[in-house]
């Protein structure tokens, strides 16, 4: 019984080609790996190898023939008897069924199912609320810096697989002192100074997470993480999906993000929208100390890769924090920071403080603004945004970052898609100016979002 040799495809898109040259003739003995022919397209020439052993039978397509369709039988190899029992080729018909079937699947397949209601990760989920704080709980006043440190220390005490690595996190006690005291308590095995090689140690962190540990990778600032973004996205975020759910990467990438003060364009950028656009990542950007602590603890416990965006300018601010044994907050849930009936201001990170400031000014003018802190940028709490919009019918987004392709753009899209009927005015966004951040004090001030600009936008949507 002979084996049919078919015109091969050089690429998934190739439909036909030229049989440029036969390198064997009828009657030749061929073995696996021998080059039988050269096939040409307009793009490339390729050699066609024998897969089976045997004797060349009839050559059905002469060399030099153009426009030979993929799948056409071009020759027959005679089997060598039992020893090389030919395996029947798939779809032994004359037309390129196999090639076709792959191409056709897309168009003839039934319509794709509707995506889950809340984006990636499954169907509608029960809403998780912040755990109730028992009455009588003592409220401590702590800085965001201390809250972050305490979150890491508590999780490191709880789980031996948690460790922290980054530049100056150990002996120096943290470039911004967020890791202060951790080396003393946990030692150099779990609090690890790295060389200044973000790409490398982000990869080592991701690999350690794939190997079953729970790394916290500190970037001195997220500006430097741009060198490591390949591992954050291609290695950490995508592997669970690409492996069919086999290979997890429970890692936290954390550090200060957004504009600091007078450090110029390369050290002043909000990467929230970059990471929030990536399926497979969790992105958290807390504002106050209680959220910083509760969400960082949740991030460390998460089985998914988390980008945890802090803000240098908030590190030293003090807030009240409930003194609980285990203060863990739900990821993916926004928080109403101030209730109001007239307008909603959606914000996150440092701009939450500016929004609250604007709300105080507006209240004096008789406008009651509801301030919603997104806290998690991915998955974004659409429901909280839409619920508040349904209540106030007017919405402004305040974001310390560029306006183009921003979290503000995303929230505006959500309002258009699912909140249109509730809108009494166009949604407005208040962001930084669309320029690299300048160094000069006056220009920097001009470029960055402030409470006055938020208040002005609110007045506009309220027709004041």
């Amino acid at each position: 019984m002979g084996i049919e040799l078919k015109m091969p495809a050089l690429s998934p898109t190739m439909e036909e080609g030229t049989l440029a040259k036969w390198l064997v003739k009828e009657g030749d003995t061929v073995k696996s790996g021998d080059i039988l022919a050269e096939i040409e397209t307009d793009k490339a020439t390729m050699e066609f190898e024998a897969i089976d052993e045997g004797v060349m039978g009839k050559i059905l397509v002469a060399e030099g023939t153009e426009n030979v369709k993929v799948g056409t039988v071009i020759a027959v190899i005679g089997g060598e008897g039992e020893e090389t029992q030919p395996q029947p080729l798939p779809q032994a018909g004359g037309e390129p069924v196999a090639q076709g079937s792959a191409a056709v699947t897309g168009s003839e397949a039934p319509a794709a199912p509707l995506p889950p209601a809340r984006g990636a990760g499954g169907g509608p989920m029960p809403r998780k609320a912040d755990p109730a704080i028992p009455t009588g709980t003592n409220m401590a006043t702590v800085t965001v810096r201390e809250a972050l440190r305490d979150a890491m220390a508590e999780e490191m005490r709880r789980d031996g697989s948690v460790f922290i690595m980054g530049e100056e996190v150990a002996q120096y006690q943290g470039a911004y002192k967020v890791t202060q005291g951790l080396l003393d308590e946990f030692g150099p095995k779990r609090v690890i100074d790295t060389p200044i090689t973000e790409y490398g140690f982000a990869g080592i962190g991701a690999g350690a997470a794939m190997g079953g540990l729970r790394p916290i990778v500190e970037f001195m600032t997220f500006n430097f993480a741009m060198q490591a973004i390949d591992h954050v996205i291609n290695s950490a975020a995508k592997t669970n999906y690409m492996s069919g759910g086999q290979m997890r990467c429970p890692i936290v990438f954390r550090g200060p993000n957004g504009a600091a003060t007078r450090v110029g364009a390369q050290h002043s950028q909000n990467f929230g929208p970059w990471y929030a656009s990536v399926p497979g990542l969790i992105v958290i950007a807390p504002y106050d100390a209680a959220d910083a602590k509760g969400l960082l603890k949740a991030a460390i416990r998460s089985d998914d890769p988390v980008v945890f965006l802090e803000n240098e300018l908030i590190y030293g601010r003090s807030f009240e924090l409930p003194e609980l044994d285990d203060h863990v907050l739900p990821i993916g849930k926004a928080r109403i920071m101030r209730e109001g009936r007239d307008v909603t201001i959606v914000s996150y990170s440092i701009a939450v403080g500016l929004s609250l400031e604007a709300a105080v000014t507006l209240a004096e003018e008789g406008i009651e603004a509801e301030v919603l802190d997104l806290r998690t940028l991915r998955p974004l709490d659409r429901e909280a945004v839409l619920t508040s919009l349904a209540k106030t019918n007017r919405l402004v987004i305040a974001e310390e970052g560029w306006p183009t392709c921003s979290i503000a753009s995303e929230v505006m899209a959500i309002c258009m898609e699912d909140g249109f009927d509730h809108l009494d005015a166009p949604v407005l966004r208040v962001c930084d100016e669309d320029v690299p951040l300048p160094y000069a004090a006056n220009l920097e001030k001009l470029a960055l979002i402030d409470a006055a600009r938020i208040a002005a936008a609110v007045r506009k949507v309220c027709n004041r």
């Binding site: 897969i51 798939p90 196999a98 076709g100 490398g200 069919g244």
Partner: protein
Amino acid sequence: MAKPATSRKAPNTAAAGDDNFELRSLHDAHQANPRYAASDDELLAFYEQMLLIRRFEEKAGQLYGLGLIGGFCHLYIGQEAVAVGLQSALKPGHDSVITGYRDHGHMLAYGIDPKVIMAELTGRGAGISHGKGGSMHMFSTTHKFYGGHGIVGAQVPLGAGLAFAHQYREDGGLCLAYFGDGAANQGQVYEAFNMAALWKLPIVFVVENNGYAMGTAVTRGSAETHFYRRGTAFRIPGMHVNGMDVLEVRAAAELAFAHVRGGGGPVLMELQTYRYRGHSMSDPAKYRTREEVQEMREKHDPIDAAKIELLARGMTEEKLKELEKQIRSKVAEAADFAENSPEPDLPELYTDVLVGSY
């Protein structure tokens, strides 16, 4: 070059701390005794594994030509002795292996079922990644095979991270991280070298030097083409190994793994090998001559060499034919499974994006 120091307390005549700088010790030890003394059964097992990879890859090439495999498909044909020689000295499920996108051979060498690999290549729900990874993105955490990575060089720091996890857990395991002569020029490779040496991570870096970074010959892309020397700046000992002889590869593996397991820190191995096929299936390979490829196939093929050695040791042609037949049938079974398994269910589009529910 300096001979290995015999004592850590030798007089310090070089720069500070250089008395135990033994960069050539493994290389020299390997050159002195390059071939592993395999038993007949071991050699037969190596031959069988190499032949399985060869026949599997030939079948994959065939299925690609028929349009059953899409996208990029990088075949391992010619390089079989590398994965088999090295991984035969490891323990699947204990030691970690990570590689780039030319990953089918390393998976087969770790004993992963050819059926689920082939079904992944054809994009079927029964594939090892449920059809969502494809040729370049396959993993088996039970075997501690960690991929299958499509970004050139990314697997090197990831491998250092896997080694870090072995060291952190003190489980005695090591990581074998493969990359090509092309990836060897990526900056992140040297970031990983630095930290791996600094922290004495249990890792063996393996450069599979097949002569070409896609279409660029090593001499056109690399200032230092002796890749095993590239660890010198990080005090990582190097070894140059003939990657076309499975017994030489295995002998080198024994030395390198013992060094790493003994707490000596990383080793950099350069395996001189050759790929017979193009870089990927859509590569016409016009950057080299047919004579060059034929010369390698005819004179240096690792499978032919193992076969000749087996025959010389008294193995019969019949036995080898029988083995070949079994392998062909195993591969045919895998291809059959891969062609006839259904594509993933459509709701799979949305699964495994995240582990948790938020």
